[in-house]
Symmetry: C2
Subunit: 329 residues, 2 copies
């Protein structure tokens, strides 16, 4: 690979001049610039980003820490981040934390050593104090961390109320909620939305909460068990995977969806359109969330002011077959 000195020699100028041409700063004579560009082309010169990073303390690279890319919620998010970063000539280092603080810390350490310009973080685990001393710009995605850090989340509370009300409106009166893990903030917000809406609908004392962990299998079993003991005609699952679990459980018990039990999920991952019946869900603007987080991070990196620190995006009720039945109200 040719270096800047090779180019300088060939063009008969100093490295400083080549650097000026490269970075479009300082004064360079038109004719000189022409010669330099010619030399670059002839040598197929590409500046060494590592050398540049060393001096500038910036690497045109960002870190993206997600719990697990294998979780169907994240690929679209990751894709969005990558797309936006790509436009601005940033490169994305992907990290899977499995929600473990330890791994998160390690990754942050490595990312700092590699001079990443910023980090997008999806976590529940990290205590805000820990983040205090990282001098890298951070944007928190999907799950809020602390006031101080810019965040992009969807409106979990409203979404949950929307879903619960929707079940009510298609005639459900005994509406169960499959709750996500306790340590996950968005799961708790959705749970709160369910509770408040149930009360608002005058069904406060008919609440039925099934404990889930955001996984299909566990949800399926929990719903099987719940079906044996309780009467229900609607299920609001804390995420789509659990909604599929519920769907399977209900069908396996010989009940029909939506006629006997209506089901609605949460997230709006592609999977919801692939089941039979197709799943109603509360759709989060996943791509938009990722893209926005990326744009905010870039603004931070470039030192531009943010209009807002916390962005909450609206969610959308997607009515599909799993809740489409004659209203019995």
């Amino acid at each position: 690979m040719a270096t800047i000195r090779d180019v300088a020699k060939r063009a008969g100028v100093s490295v400083a001049t080549v650097s000026r041409v490269l970075n479009q700063n300082g004064y360079v004579n038109e004719e000189t610039e022409r010669r330099v560009r010619q030399a670059m082309k002839e040598l197929n010169y590409k500046p060494n980003e590592v050398a540049r990073a060393l001096f500038k303390k910036t690497s045109k690279t960002v870190g993206l820490i997600v719990p697990d890319i294998t979780n169907p919620f994240f690929p679209e998010l990751v894709r969005a981040v990558e797309d936006v970063m790509n436009i601005y000539d940033y490169t994305v280092i992907l990290c899977n934390s499995d929600e473990k603080v330890e791994k998160e810390r390690e990754y942050i350490e490595v990312l700092k050593q590699k001079y990443v310009d910023g980090v997008i973080l999806t976590t529940n685990q990290l205590a805000p104090e820990e983040v205090e001393e990282w001098d890298v710009p951070i944007v928190v995605l999907d799950r809020p961390l602390h006031e101080r850090y810019p965040s992009v989340v969807a409106d979990n509370y409203e979404g949950a109320r929307l879903a619960t009300r929707h079940l009510y409106e298609v005639g459900c009166r005994r509406i169960a909620h499959i709750q996500g893990p306790n340590h996950v903030v968005n799961a708790m917000e959705r749970f709160r939305g369910y509770q408040d809406e149930m009360r608002a609908l005058g069904l406060g004392d008919r609440q039925l909460v099934i404990q889930g962990n955001y996984q299909l299998k566990q949800a399926k079993e929990a719903v099987m068990a719940a079906l044996a003991e309780h009467d229900m005609d609607g299920i609001f699952a804390g995420n789509d995977a659990m909604a599929v679990g519920a769907l399977k459980a209900v069908q396996q018990c010989g009940l029909r969806v939506p006629d006997d039990i209506a089901i609605i999920g949460y997230d709006g991952i592609p999977l919801t359109e692939m089941t039979t019946p197709e799943l109603s869900t509360v759709s989060q603007p996943i791509y938009e969330m990722g893209a926005m987080a990326a744009r905010i991070l870039i603004k931070q990196i470039e030192g531009k002011p943010l209009e807002k620190l916390h962005y909450q995006l609206p969610v959308q009720l997607m009515v599909r077959q799993s809740t489409s039945r004659r209203k019995t109200t």
Copy 2:
């Protein structure tokens, strides 16, 4: 951040000595080493990977180019690569190429400028000649590129024969194949497997090929159209997404799966266990493929010899509800 010079000063030694301690090479007195380590701890010193990369021309970073992380085949693959790389202290830059040569080329260029130590490539588009001059170690994943480059693929041909034979064995005689895109090598191999097996079964003249593009929607429509014109009792889809499309089309036409038409997919993505009925499929060892590609890349980077250049992993027939019917043979 403390630098190596800070550490040297604090420990009362030269930077060379600190570097020796850091890299465990050269002679260092035990007592000196103790002092240096002490100083490192006190200053919370972490070596700057960028400076190191500049001198060593290696960055403990690899590039991973996939067509689209949003395609459900890839998250698990990516996860596997990341897991293995993490063990060996490498970091992964994720790139989505959308199968476009242009994007692939750009990414490779950027990756080289960032001194990545190697690249794992999933592509059909790139001509082997283009790769010729890249001096970075490359491993080709899922789709073979050229003899010269190490590759990890699953046995598409055998898998396709397996799937076709399985449909035959559960009683199907008019077996259709939904073919993947023409430019994708593995789609062609699966197609070939279907053809050969059909002939071997004495059904050579009963072949029915439906053109798909690996997408659910398009496959669904193509199958709808095909159902109107042709008689069939089994469908072997070139991938799982198209199998779901077929499933939907068949159900929408009022036919039963598997009783009227049995369906089998290909890939073994998690989705296949989420449909009703659950989809039979030919399962590729996706995680293992990713992990193996990662291990091979590391061997290459470290200059260790490879036992083999081309690895072909076996696939596994997963019989589920969508092909479970009484045999009519």
